[in-house]
Symmetry: C2
Subunit: 244 residues, 2 copies
DNA sequence: CGCTGGCAATAACAAATGTTAGAAAGGAAA
DNA sequence: TTTCCTTTCTAACATTTGTTATTGCCAGCG
């Protein structure tokens, strides 16, 4: 089994053995990071790209009034930030949620990857899909009501975890209700309300950090979920990738 | 005066005369597009990258329930979508708001630019800043209340239009109230309410498509605006760009 | 074993925002 | 001008969501 990064990128574009070798070469020296630990903090000068290999991490930002918005979940195979390549300052923070295995990739190694046309396109793919996910989150928070928003996030996590082989119809969800509330832009009290709705509708169960989606079709229907923005196909094979 | 694209990219990274020549070479054959016209529609196979040279355009998406979310404003110098490089299907639509001058850049020309290290980095910059703007929009919609959201959007447009020389303390804003409502995720009625608030507080005037910001410091204070996410400096000179 | 602290669940009430409807204002075209 | 149409503005009321507070649960730890 390939690692999560190669597996994800191959969903976008086919990689030669040499490409894969070069990718594997940069993910040396993984380190373990405890839960709830910043990998990068707003205002820092970014020094390396972080790549999550195991565990759950997130991007987040606090407003001037002290409210937190989670802007992305970073799952195994996800680059935390390509900012290091060109920007001088982090405009948001990145933190682990569960204990994680993380690889730090120096800027020069990323620049080297960008020299190779195929890998450059693969990294563009990853970045463009990240942006597509972010756009869908904006739609979610801007246009859907709280119950739908929550269901939508749970659908997305299911599909993204499936890509890297970490879910079937259930998955480990090491988030607190406050984390989810800060993801969909509601109070923790209201999050609990709509969570009870999903349970009452028998759409999910969630206890001891394990989420079971009892009927994915109904949950997608409930939330208005359309997976096109993830640009994936079934079982990680991606019919949406360009082959020309 | 350089064109808006070169002007914007030079804010991120310094370009050689040859780089600029190559950039100028791809922005041939601008065409005029009427207001309220799709440049690309969700589900399309993207065929070329659109670059806005004049006018206002936007990204948007409709939910299953028929609500529209505007996900970005595309101003002069902005690439509409790099999707064409690698993705097979548009996951959202792009439309003009005002009449626009647009350049269509074939996929191969973009790939050629990506071969040149400096231009490749410049395009990464543009993409990373676009993503940063999108994240801030998510924070805006998720964590601020309607009045602050509106003020925040107006602050951002001021700064972004200044970069390309299209604003001082006022600018042309060819949007309807419904457009703004669909941007910050509120109803048109509520948008009007908070707009009246801003007028009553003497923060702005807006009529005949011209917006005047009467006190930018107070408006930034009001909205909790922090410009760091735009990664710009004063007058388009960008102290935030890496020079190493 | 019993603290203790964080998280989850619930209730009661307050505030923000949505919905519906209609009147007023403005622009474009006959 | 008049008409027509879109947009803006306002009001009244409905609904969603936030706030504050309290309770119970459970894991970690002395």
């Amino acid at each position: 089994m390939e690692n999560a990064l190669v597996r994800k990128l191959e969903g976008y574009i086919s990689l030669s053995p040499d490409d894969k070798r070069q990718l594997n070469a940069i993910i040396r020296n993984p380190r373990h990071v405890p839960a709830h630990t910043d990998l990068a903090t707003e205002g820092d000068k970014p020094t390396s790209v972080h790549l999550v290999m195991e565990g759950f991490a997130c991007r987040y930002k606090f407003t001037a009034e002290g409210n937190r918005q989670i802007m992305a979940y970073l799952l195994p195979g996800d680059f935390c930030d390509m900012h290091v390549v060109v920007l001088k300052q982090m405009d948001h923070s990145i933190a682990t949620i569960s204990p994680c295995t993380v690889v730090d990739i120096p800027r020069d190694h990323i620049l080297a990857l960008l020299q190779k046309p195929t890998l450059s396109l693969a990294l563009w793919c990853a970045a463009l899909v990240d942006a597509a996910v972010l756009r869908e989150w904006l739609v979610n928070v801007g246009q859907r009501r709280a119950g739908q928003r929550l269901a939508h996030v749970l659908c997305e996590l299911l599909l993204r975890l499936r890509i890297v082989g970490l879910a079937d119809n259930s998955y480990d969800l090491p988030l607190s209700q406050k984390d989810l509330a800060d993801t969909i832009g509601v109070s923790n009290v209201h999050l609990n309300r709509v969570l009870q709705d999903l349970r009452r509708e028998d759409l999910i169960t969630w206890k001891a950090e394990h989420l079971v989606i009892k009927d994915i079709d109904r949950l997608m229907e409930y939330s208005g979920f359309n997976p096109n923005y993830l640009h994936i196909g079934r079982q990680g094979a991606n019919p949406d990738a360009r082959t020309d």
